[in-house]
Symmetry: C2
Subunit: 161 residues, 2 copies
Amino acid sequence: MVIRPLASSDRADLHDALVRCGAFSDEEEVVALEVLDDGLKGGLEGDYPHLVADVDGVVQGYVTVGKTPMTRSTWHLYWICVHPRAQGLGVGRALQAAAEAFVVARGGERLVLETGGRPDYARTRRFYADAGYVEVGRVVDFYRPGDDCVYFCKAFCAVPG
Amino acid sequence: MVIRPLASSDRADLHDALVRCGAFSDEEEVVALEVLDDGLKGGLEGDYPHLVADVDGVVQGYVTVGKTPMTRSTWHLYWICVHPRAQGLGVGRALQAAAEAFVVARGGERLVLETGGRPDYARTRRFYADAGYVEVGRVVDFYRPGDDCVYFCKAFCAVPG
């Protein structure tokens, strides 16, 4: 598996992964595609750097991060998407680790992410908890009734005051 | 006091209020002005509706809200800014109440906001707590060392599942 920057030839494969992974609503897919196109334009130095996972020449997923405006060194992890045909191979874990290395290399000191509180997102929440992300907040019914927003954060080093 | 939609003739007065209120960093001022210009273009039906407080013909502050993408009925309150010469007159309270009425009239069921955890923001946090906002999360050192992000939420009605 190789984790590399997004290329324009990845767009169709990543669109397919977005649709098939089943984690995103129609509106979320539209937003994700807009952000993907922004990532293609801006590259790794733009507002929404993307990294993709290439397994034996086939693109199987991607991660999107971004520096959080109006903060000194906080970044957001917007989403990790893995094609269902590749789940269980450690693609999500590799993307998460690569995103963290990318952020730390740019002076980032923490990653914040928001994910759903629904029962069918339990595996996603456990994925982040296992990687050292700590639940730091929750807005009840944020996305829709019964679907909270859960805030997670992972800090990368102690920051001297 | 009249709370009314933003007009293009308000821009200079609101820029002055932003600079003088002392609550915003240079970067925050730049972002706030960009959002103000977006509010001028989009009006009350755009992504960033603005309401201004007009006290005896003088614009003394404003509030910015926005529907939260990918949610059914959640809105964000981005900021309330009051010119220092008008503080203590209830301008902030009137803007907050008007923003809530605006959101509720459009089917909004909760407002989420993020504010700073610094000691000099204690008055701001108390302002929101007194208005019924509940602290629902916190990211330590989010803005910079010693300046947490504090998430508040106010729900407007029970949502049937």
